[in-house]
Symmetry: C2
Subunit: 270 residues, 2 copies
C-alpha cells in the first residue's frame, strides 16, 4: 500500500475542498421528473458507503425485532428505543477503545456482544440463554434499508462499482446484504484492515483492494466526520442526508450533497 505523508494528506484535503463544484443542469418539464437535478462534476470509479444510518435504519430495525422478542419472552418493562440507542452508543465507545489501542482488534459482532451483556444487566432483563443472546446480537445482520436505499443503489450499480465500507464485520455485512437484498458488487469492511473508521487504514485498504487511487473512490455517508476523514486521505465525498442522524451538510461542504439515495444517484448521473 502506498504511504501518504502529512503534507500530501493536507494537500489532498485541500484538493477535496477545491473539487466541490456542482454544475446546475437545466431541468426538463417532462411528466415524471419532479425537479431540476444538479449534476456532480466529479467522476468516481467506485463508491463506498457507510451502512449504519446511511443505508439501513438501525433504530427501527432493532426496535421492531426487540418488541417481538419482548413479547415472546414476557419482557414488557424495557424502552426498546432507549435500548437500541444505548447499544449504538456502546458500539461507538468500544470502537474508540480499539482505535486508541486500549483493546486489541476486535470485530464488531464481538464488541456488540460485550455491550449487549451490559445492557441486559442494566435493563434488568433475565432468563436469556446464550443462544437467545447470540440471536439478539445478530439483529445487526438483519437491519432493514431505508426505503430509497435499494432503488438508489440499483441505479448507481449500473454505472459504478458499489460496496459498503462499514465498521461492521465482513460476515455481518454479507448477511445483511443477503437478508435485505442490497445489490453490492463486493463487501468491504473495516475488518479487512483490522482498523475501524476513522483510521486511515480502513479507507486506504478499501481503495487498494479495489485496485484504484483514492481520488477515484467516493465515500458516501450521512455522517460528516466519516466524510472529513475520507477526504483527508484523498477520497471524494458524498453526503446523504438522513434527518434522524442529525448531521446535516450544506451545499458545497462535500463533492456531492444529496437529500437521499435516489437524489444522490441522480446527481451522479445514474
Amino acid at each position: 500500500m502506498k504511504t501518504i505523508g502529512r503534507r500530501e494528506l493536507l494537500h489532498a484535503g485541500a484538493m477535496g475542498a477545491a473539487a466541490v463544484n456542482l454544475l446546475p443542469i437545466i431541468g426538463t418539464e417532462s411528466v415524471g421528473v419532479a425537479s431540476a437535478a444538479t449534476r456532480a462534476s466529479v467522476t468516481p470509479k467506485a463508491i463506498i458507503f457507510d451502512v449504519f444510518g446511511t443505508v439501513v435504519d438501525w433504530r427501527s430495525s432493532i426496535v421492531a425485532e426487540a418488541t417481538a422478542w419482548g413479547k415472546a419472552k414476557g419482557i414488557q418493562h424495557v424502552d426498546w428505543m432507549q435500548f437500541a440507542v444505548e447499544w449504538r452508543q456502546g458500539q461507538g465507545r468500544e470502537m474508540a477503545r480499539v482505535r486508541r489501542g486500549e483493546l486489541p482488534w476486535t470485530k464488531l459482532d464481538d464488541l456488540h456482544r460485550q455491550v449487549l451483556e451490559g445492557l441486559i444487566t442494566k435493563f434488568k432483563i433475565t432468563g436469556l440463554t446464550d443462544d437467545d443472546k447470540d440471536h439478539w446480537n445478530r439483529v445487526w445482520h438483519r437491519l432493514k434499508p431505508w426505503p430509497d436505499s435499494i432503488p438508489g443503489l440499483t441505479r448507481l450499480k449500473a454505472k459504478y462499482t458499489i460496496a459498503p465500507l462499514s465498521n461492521g464485520n465482513f460476515a455481518m455485512l454479507t448477511n445483511m446484504a443477503k437478508n435485505a437484498g442490497l445489490p453490492w458488487d463486493c463487501i468491504l469492511s473495516a475488518e479487512l484492515a483490522r482498523h475501524f473508521k476513522y483510521d486511515r487504514e480502513a479507507y486506504l485498504t478499501a481503495v487498494e483492494l479495489l485496485g484504484l487511487e483514492p481520488g477515484d473512490v467516493m465515500m458516501a455517508a450521512a455522517h460528516t466526520n466519516d466524510l472529513k476523514a475520507a477526504r483527508s486521505f484523498g477520497l471524494l465525498t458524498g453526503h446523504i442526508d438522513r434527518p434522524i442522524e442529525n448531521d446535516k451538510a450544506n451545499p458545497g461542504d462535500f463533492d456531492v450533497v444529496a437529500k437521499d439515495m435516489v437524489d444522490f444517484a441522480s446527481q451522479l448521473g445514474a
Copy 2:
C-alpha cells in the same frame, strides 16, 4: 483465527473422507426432469468457488479477445491458444515462487503483467504501448463464464451464501463478476490472506471472514489439488467436472462430485 494442529488436520482429512455419502434419490418421470438426481448428505452454510477453469472459461475468453487484438494490431503470426496456455502456466510458476517465499506477496494482476512481458518477447510481438499492455493484462478481469455457471450459481444463491475463493486479486474478481453478471454474495480472494491457495491461510481466512467454522464451508473446484488442500484444513469439498481441465474425480472422492454447475446445484438441493 483458530490454529489447527497436525493431528487435527489429519483427523479433519479423515472426517472429510468419511463424510462422503451420496444418497440416491428416486428420479421422477415428469417431463423436463432429465435424470434421477443424487442428493448430497452434507449441509454447508456457504460455498466458495475456484474461478479459473471452474466458473469461467479462461482459454476461450483469452483467445477470443486476443484474436481481436491481433487483428487490430496487425499481429497474425501468434497461436493465441498457445499464448493463453503459456500465460496460465506462467501464472502457476510465479504463484509457486510466492508460496515458497522466493517472491514477496504479489497480487495476481502484477504477476500476470510480469508473465505477459516475457510472452511478448517470446512470441515476438512488437509495437505495444504500456496502455495496450495494461488493457491486455486486464483480460483476466473480463473472463466469460461457462454456460451453466450463472444458472447453477443463481440456484445455489437462493439457498447458500456463495463467493469465489480464487487466487485472482480482489479487484480482478470484483470486476469479473460485474462484467459477467456472476451473482456472488461477496468477493473472497487469496489477496485477503496475502497467501495463495494451496496455503492454509487462503482457505481459513475466507472461513473466518464468513464467520463460520471450516466444516460449514464447502470448497468447490474443478481441480482435485485445490479440494484436497481444502479438505486437509477441515472444509467440505465439491468437485465440478470441466473436461478441458483434465482433472476428473470419481464418485465418492469428495463430498459432492458433479458433472457441471447445474448438477452441483441439484445435488445440493438448490
